[in-house]
């Protein structure tokens, strides 16, 4: 009987179980999770703070998932050493797990630049785990003045989740615009206006130079007083275990389209990896939940002898703030369509005859039609581009496409 070991209990790890079980109902699966909770959608933690979900509903594949799939799940367990020559994983407890196939799904860790005086801040948090959300829930009161450093999607979702729990929420970022990794300067102001209208204070192009207890000295010269600090500057792939075993690591663990790594019998999936971004034509860290799920499944199926590929990876994100929906996907190459209004926008980007990216704010209906064109690298000469620019629909994709997709099983 084949022995599988999965390091990580996030979406990639859980999807890896699904991949293995799609082909091998018998093999022994051991899943090693660093957190006390696993099998939950990580992006849900802000919705938890907002009261839109709870611990029971947050279970991604249901609370009986491990039992149903006959998985030995070890929680709050630390994987300490990976020995590819022996085919063995050692835990911090000293326990050894021999494997025939192992998948590294270690995700990412929050990253913080060195702020002077950070250690003098008593109540400081990251915002990437359920434990972070629970700790913030305990700490933040109606009187709390919350300062979030970082106006990317983690920081802003945290701010949204805390708005009704806290006295005030201020978000600062060194970048000139909110969500600068996802939005461009045309689109970002729409979001910024909405956030301010919704009660957040935004300080952009301005960050903390020094902390002093409950004071943040800002680049602008201003001094901000706060009670609770959240650092949401970014995350980095967690590659330590794999790198120490001699594996090939770029910005993340390097994988091919089968999710194989440079080490024998070792696969990797999810936010810890670097893989081909088909919209950019070069590898990147495609750390979003849908990719983690697709990669995890692909890795698992292949660990069990399958021939799956993950070869349509792009960055893609759907997020909402106080009722305003924002979607972005792919690479922002050459703009082919721009529509910017007070409360919404649409931008499409193309290069070499294929759609490579888009940004939508407000009207996001049927955006998946655009996403699919990017992932499939559909030649734009085969579609009615002018019609597609105006609205995503199946009409510009032609009768043959519709006959195949609407008239057959897909």
């Amino acid at each position: 009987m084949k022995r599988y070991v999965i390091v990580g209990g996030g979406i990639a790890g859980v999807s890896c179980v699904e991949g293995i079980r799609s082909r091998d109902p018998e093999g022994e699966i051991t899943l090693v999770a660093a957190e006390e909770t696993s099998n939950y959608g990580r992006p849900l933690i802000s919705y938890y703070l907002e009261g839109k979900t709870d611990l029971r509903r947050m279970s991604w594949r249901g609370e009986d998932f491990y039992e149903k799939n006959r998985v030995t799940a070890l929680h709050a367990a630390a994987a300490e050493k990976l020995d590819p020559a022996a085919g063995e994983l050692t835990l911090s407890t000293g326990a050894r797990l021999p494997y025939d196939a192992l998948c590294v799904c270690t995700g990412s860790h929050p990253f913080s630049p060195r702020f002077e005086g950070l250690e003098t801040v008593e109540k400081r948090f990251f915002f990437t785990t359920m434990a972070d959300a629970l700790a913030l829930e305990q700490t933040v009161t109606k009187e709390s003045r919350v300062l979030v450093v970082g106006a990317g999607f983690i920081g802003l979702k945290c701010a949204e989740g805390l708005r009704d729990r806290a006295g005030s929420v201020t978000v600062c970022d060194l970048a000139e615009h909110a969500m600068s990794a996802n939005l461009d300067p045309d689109c970002a102001p729409i979001l910024e206006r909405h956030l301010v209208k919704s009660g957040l204070r935004l300080l952009l192009g301005n960050t903390v130079t020094r902390f002093e207890g409950q004071k943040a000295h800002m680049q602008s010269g201003e001094t901000l007083e706060f009670d609770v600090l959240v650092i949401a500057i970014g995350v980095r792939p967690e590659t330590g275990l794999f790198a120490a075993a001699g594996g090939d690591v770029g910005r993340g663990i390097r994988v091919n389209e089968k999710q194989e790594t440079s080490l024998p019998k070792i696969w990797a999936a999810g936010d810890c990896t670097e893989s081909m971004d088909v919209s950019a034509g070069e590898p990147g860290v495609l750390a979003v939940l849908p990719n983690a799920a697709l990669q995890g499944f692909c890795a698992g199926a292949n660990m069990a002898g399958g021939a799956e590929v993950f070869d349509k990876g792009i960055k893609m994100n759907s997020i909402g703030f106080f009722g305003l929906h924002i979607m972005s996907a792919g690479s922002y190459t050459e703009p082919i369509y721009t529509e910017v209004a007070e409360d919404g926008c649409k931008k499409l980007f193309a290069k070499d005859g294929v759609l490579t990216g888009f940004i939508l704010i407000g009207d996001v209906a049927r955006a998946g039609i655009y996403t699919s064109l990017i992932r499939e690298r559909t030649p734009l000469e085969s579609v009615d581009l002018e019609a597609l620019k105006k609205a995503p629909s199946l009409l510009p994709l032609g009768r043959a496409y519709r006959a195949e997709k609407l008239g057959g099983a897909v």
Partner: protein, 147 residues
């Protein structure tokens, strides 16, 4: 499995499927109570222009990308049918970002909504197909399943 299939050349663009869908999913006993003076929120939509019209609803894909990418785990399969647990859904609309057919829609309460083949409402089988006057929408077994 049986799926909803569209015969584009027979679609009249009458939108009756949209009304039947909205009614079937309203829980109301008669169509007037369900639809009169209210927003019509069907999970099937007729699109196209001029002579070309056709209806689009969930394809119930064999390996649905919406289920893989759903952040809350609200989307799931029951038998071969792609269903949504609207209590679990947080309304992030990642499914809308992912569906290649534009067949998952934002619902009125924030949660996403989609065709569940009328298996969960009183209709019991797709109301769109049952009420289509021209067999432009049919509910049938069409291909041998490979999975």
């Amino acid at each position: 499995m049986k799926r909803v299939y569209v015969n584009e050349e027979w679609c009249l663009g009458c939108h009756l499927c949209e009304y039947n869908c909205a009614f079937a999913n309203s829980g109301a006993r008669d169509m007037v109570t369900a639809l009169k003076g209210k927003p019509i929120l069907p999970r099937i939509r007729v699109e196209g222009e001029g002579d070309v019209t056709y209806a689009v609803s969930c394809r119930h894909c064999r390996d649905p990308i919406c289920i893989r990418g759903c952040i809350s785990g609200a989307l799931h399969k029951e038998g071969g049918t792609v269903c949504i647990d609207r209590e679990k859904c947080v309304g992030c609309l990642t499914c809308v970002l992912l569906c290649p057919y534009g067949a998952v829609l934002p619902g009125p309460d924030g949660a996403a909504m989609k065709c569940e083949l009328c298996l969960k409402n009183a209709c019991g089988e797709p109301a769109c197909a049952a009420g289509c006057p021209n067999r432009a929408i049919v509910y049938e077994e069409r291909e041998e399943e490979t999975v």
